[in-house]
């Protein structure tokens, strides 16, 4: 199952089974669509949209289907409609390459304009799109400190206290009775949180991967996996029972 499979059905569900958590003492709601809502500040965080990934590949001669952007934006519109946030933060790798927002087709640009109407929009710059966005609402910055948390694309190596980051596309594998299920997840040890990748054409990196080493206190690490219409929370040590 992937995000394309879950989108049409879940968007019709009016009562999502979310999971309430605390990140560095700040209340947060993990939504199965892949967004993190912070009720105290009215902020919705999404990460790694990788918009125009298909087009980025087409520019290099691989004609991937041109439908990924609209599929991702449809899910984004659904999660925005669900929380009606004051602020939307897109946590970097908003576009798959530097030219993504420049060549974004007009109808898709209009969808983003619609979603941004009446709220603040912050594009955090990522490694795929370090130059910011072109002709889109909101501001492009490298880092945001707000409401007791710090928002940046790549997790810092020094201190992760109160950090919400993306970049690594965390996913977790659950094994029970010789069956394996792998899903994207929110990953947090209570101090730091890694966001799942939101874009429909994004892959995942297992929490066991060496790139994840040193990021979390694994004793306290919990994976909140994105299920079909609810969040499944599993302690790191219990993933492969």
């Amino acid at each position: 199952m992937n995000r394309l499979g879950l989108s049409p059905r879940t968007m019709l569900t009016n009562t999502p089974a979310t999971e309430d958590i605390l990140v560095h003492g700040v209340a947060a709601v993990c939504d199965p669509l892949g967004g993190l809502y912070l009720p105290e500040t009215g902020m919705l965080v999404v990460s790694d949209l990788h918009l125009e990934k298909g087009a980025a590949f087409a520019r290099r001669g691989m004609m991937l289907p041109p439908y990924d952007t609209i599929a991702t934006l449809n899910i984004l519109a659904a999660v925005i409609a669900r929380y009606d946030p004051k602020i939307v933060v897109s946590l970097g790798d908003n576009f798959h390459d530097r030219r993504g927002s420049e060549f974004l087709p007009a109808d898709l640009r209009a969808m983003i304009l619609d979603m941004a109407r009446g709220r603040d929009w912050i594009w955090i710059n990522g490694n795929h799109d370090p130059d910011g966005t072109t002709d889109l609402p909101g501001i492009s910055i490298d880092e945001l400190v707000y409401g007791g948390l710090v928002f940046r694309h790549e997790p810092s190596l020094i201190s992760g206290k109160g950090e919400v980051a993306g970049h690594l596309h965390p996913s977790a594998t659950v094994r029970r009775r010789e069956k394996y299920v792998r899903r994207p997840c929110f990953a947090t040890d209570g101090h730091r949180l890694l966001m799942p990748a939101f874009g429909v054409l994004t892959g995942g990196l297992d929490l066991n991967h060496k790139a994840m080493q040193g990021i979390f206190d694994r004793q306290a690490l919990v994976a909140h996996l994105l299920g079909r219409d609810r969040i499944y929370s599993v302690r790191y040590g219990n993933l492969l029972a």
Partner: protein, 840 residues
């Protein structure tokens, strides 16, 4: 002039040049009738097909027309204008081109002919390849991929303009695959460069030679006459037996471990034994078990496709030098390479096809007048019947090679791009050329245009990639590549063999501190998906060893010696052939006919007669359905005999239907012979009271909506799609400057598949995938034939307990995981544990 009249074929007189006559005389040989007939008819301008058993001098026959022509032509004087190659020899295996070069150079040197022979494969150094383009040899020995590469080159016309002969070896095995499709398109292009070029196909015996005779000549609106046929029959009949055993033949399973002591005794009795198995897993297990009883320390080796190439070469060399007593091998050793003096072939597990058996036995002996000796070792009781059927077929000369089939669309897309790389193409001229290749003779103009559009911009309804097009239409209507990088990408990604994502397996040691060392021996490759299921400490069987999984470092899977005898076994998905239609038919006939059953061993006959008492044995055209309760479940067994792939598809579709009928099915399992479905409701009672109709359940309309709905979720279809995406060039295997990325494919094809299913379900690549699946992994074509055949011939037996015939498949249950919608249930279970742990 010396003249030798062909002995059998009559009218054509043939002239052999003096060096040939002398050479044959010195060797004390005389040319065989079929060699001379082929030569005469080729000299008369015919395209030819030679069908002959191994050891009949096929290679020399194939080259005689070009050798005699080259001798007549004489050496080209220095300073002459550029001369392109004279003869192209194409074989499916790199190793075979090397082998043939050796075999061909011998007579060429001994006769003192001024003929240059070279090979060109993926292993040929760049410098030599460049030199070959500037100064081509007379005879070039190569593979289908290299032909495609040469044809996509700007110099192709110059290189091929003097081509006289194309010799196609092992044609029977090439034509049915996508490589064969690509080659057929290449042949069409070669004919454009050299209109008078002639083809010579060399093949083992096939079911329908006319398929190949047409394949060798241009089709299209006015097809050329089919290639002439020279058919060499005979050779000594092989001496085949089914292994007699005192042990109990197992009910189910595929590993034949019961017979290993007897197989070992046979190895001891013979000089060199070649042991064929159907899967890599069987090879691993058999090899390991043989060594546990190898008290005489006989040199026994292992050979399969996942092993490290260096290790395979070592085994091949040892074998050619007669240093080995036995080799356990999979289909990697199937084809016509000379492997020294093998005096026994043991086939473990049923051969699954009569022609496959004949070809494998052919390996045993390269002198066609001595009988080959072979022993079949069935792994279970159904396989006993299958082996008996294959054995009968072998004596009757029956053949069940698959038909050539329709050309694949992904291959066509690759070819279209290649042709644009060579030179701008006129769309109408290219269409005519493509439809002259027999697999593409029925390609419609509309489909061709969709493929060209796909190559250009991906062929999407949403036309947003025009500015990124790979090929563009020029003002004169011809298509050209947009930039030179496209041609480079094409060359790097050419070919039709898509490897599953694989990781190298490296044996390392743990040092005293418990950390892993570096740089141990490389053992070969395993599929990534298999490793994803392992956690550190799990053990598995590979390269003949029990290994402990230590972890993945960069692109390598690290393992250590496990010193354990009880491995968790690699569950390779590939390598299992389904039972051929012909053998399936024969097994059904055997069940139906008491006379044919007399040839079977007592154990098997007893089993069948108890079945006859307790239930029944179906007639040949009849489908037997049994229902019975067991434990808290109700079972339905369908004895279809249509092969595992078709049964799996049937199982998927029937479970959906039973679900709708309220039968509450829980799962199913499929073997080559039957299908078992189980559920919570009493299926027998439902059939008896009319709430479930078997004729409705097995109606052909399941291949409509049910199939479509299932394809949405099918994992197998995603694998097929992945191959199509790679071959068609939608996804690159390699990108210039990024040759060393770990995974062969740079983006998840599963995700792309889902994007297409959701947003453009009639995209041409999904069409290509469905066509592939229909004949490949899903075997829908065969399932459709069966549903048509059994209409009105379904017989139901409601039993109070499991029947003898059902025992084998009942034992398979639980060995395979049951596919379906169980994923969220697994997550739920894990989440519930957390809740319990938290004391909620």
């Amino acid at each position: 002039m010396d003249r030798i009249e062909p002995k059998s074929s009559g009218n054509q007189a043939v002239t052999l040049p003096r060096p040939f006559v002398k050479w044959f005389a010195e060797k004390g040989w005389s040319p065989r009738a079929h060699q001379l007939e082929l030569l005469a008819r080729a000299q008369g301008g015919e395209n030819m097909l030679l069908i002959a058993p191994t050891g009949a001098g096929k290679t020399l026959a194939g080259f005689l027309p070009s050798l005699t022509d080259l001798v007549a032509r004489g050496k080209i004087p220095p300073g002459s204008a550029f001369t392109g190659i004279h003869t192209l020899y194409i074989s499916p295996l790199k190793a075979l081109t090397v082998d043939i070069e050796r075999n061909l150079m011998k007579p060429v040197t001994e006769m003192g002919l001024a003929v240059s022979v070279e090979n060109r494969t993926g292993d040929t150094p760049q410098a030599k390849r460049q030199r070959q383009k500037l100064n081509p040899p007379d005879i070039l020995l190569t593979t289908p991929e290299q032909v495609a590469l040469l044809l996509a080159n700007k110099e192709a016309e110059r290189f091929f303009k003097d081509l006289k002969y194309v010799v196609l070896d092992e044609l029977h095995s090439l034509v049915t695959s996508k490589r064969g499709h690509l080659l057929s398109l290449g042949l069409a292009r070669l004919r454009k460069h050299a209109p008078d070029m002639q083809t010579i196909g060399l093949s083992a015996t096939v079911a329908d030679p006319m398929d190949l005779q047409r394949w060798l000549v241009p089709q299209g609106e006015t097809p050329a006459p089919p290639a002439g046929l020279v058919h060499v029959t005979g050779g000594a009949a092989p001496d085949i037996t089914i292994l007699g055993t005192d042990s109990r033949i197992p009910w189910s399973g595929h590993v034949s471990t019961y017979a290993i002591p007897e197989v070992y005794e046979e190895i001891k009795r013979h000089k060199t034994t070649l042991i064929f198995v159907n899967t890599r897993f069987q090879a691993e297990l058999l090899f390991q078990t043989l060594w546990t009883i190898n008290e005489d320390n006989l040199p026994i080796a292992l050979h399969h496709g996942s092993l490290d190439a260096g290790q395979r070469r070592k085994v091949e060399a040892a074998m050619a030098d007669n240093k080995l007593r036995a080799v356990v091998a999979t289909s990697t050793l199937d084809m016509g390479i000379d492997w020294g003096d093998i005096d026994l072939v043991v086939h473990v597990g049923a051969p699954k096809g009569a022609s496959r058996l004949a070809q494998r036995i052919g390996r045993a002996n390269h002198r066609m007048d001595e009988p080959s000796k072979a022993i079949l070792v069935p792994a279970n009781r159904f396989e006993v019947m299958e082996c008996q059927a294959a054995l009968d077929a072998n004596y009757h000369g029956a053949q069940d090679t698959p038909p050539v089939g329709e050309g694949a669309l992904d291959v066509l897309a690759q070819h279209v791009l290649g042709m644009a790389c060579a030179e701008p193409f006129d769309p109408v001229a290219l269409y005519d050329e493509i439809t002259s290749a027999s697999p593409y003779a029925t390609l419609t103009w509309e489909m061709y245009e969709r493929i060209v559009d796909f190559v250009a911009t991906g062929g999407y309804a949403l036309r947003s990639y025009e500015r990124y097009a790979k090929i563009r239409k020029m003002e004169d209507g011809r298509w050209r590549v947009s930039n030179p990088q496209i041609a480079q990408q094409y060359r790097m990604n050419l070919g039709t063999i898509v490897e599953a994502a694989e990781l190298n397996v490296r044996l390392v040691k743990r040092n005293a501190k418990g950390t892993l060392g570096r740089g141990g021996m490389s053992l070969g490759k395993v599929e990534e998906y298999f490793l994803e299921q392992l956690v550190q400490g799990d053990t598995f069987l590979f390269a003949g060893k029990v290994l402990r999984f230590e972890g993945i470092r960069e692109n390598e899977c690290l393992v250590s010696n496990a010193f354990s005898l009880d491995p968790k076994i690699p569950a390779y998905a590939g390598g299992k052939f389904p039972l051929t239609t012909y053998l399936a038919d024969q097994v059904r006939a055997m069940l139906a006919d008491p006379d044919r059953r007399t040839a079977l061993p007592d154990q098997v006959r007893d089993w069948l007669s108890i079945q006859l008492e307790r239930s029944m044995l179906p007639r040949q055209d009849e489908l037997l359905i049994e229902t019975f309760p067991r434990g808290k479940r109700f079972f339905l067994i369908a004895y279809c005999f249509e092969g595992r792939l078709a049964h799996q598809t049937l199982g998927m579709l029937l479970t959906r239907r039973l679900e709708r009928a309220g039968a509450r099915p829980l799962g199913f399992v499929a073997t080559d012979y039957s299908l078992a479905i189980w559920g919570l409701n009493d299926l027998g009672a439902m059939i008896a009271d009319g709430s479930l109709s078997l004729s409705d359940l097995f109606d052909e309309d399941m291949l409509g909506d049910d199939l479509e709905a299932w394809l949405d979720e099918s994992y197998m279809l995603k694998r097929t799609f992945r191959n199509c995406a790679v071959i068609s060039g939608l996804i690159e295997r390699r990108h210039p400057g990024k040759e060393k990325t770990g995974r062969q494919v740079t983006v998840s094809t599963d995700l792309i598949y889902d994007v297409l299913r959701t947003h453009e379900p009639d995209h041409v690549l999904l069409e290509a995938t469905r066509r592939d699946a229909a004949s490949g992994l899903l075997d829908i074509g065969r399932l459709g034939d069966m549903l048509g055949r059994i209409k009105g011939h379904i017989t139901h037996r409601d039993l109070d307990r499991v029947s003898p015939l059902a025992v084998p498949i009942m034992l398979e249950i639980g060995k395979e995981s049951v596919p379906g919608e169980a994923q969220d249930a697994v997550l739920q279970e894990a989440a519930d544990e957390l809740i319990a742990e938290a004391g909620l």
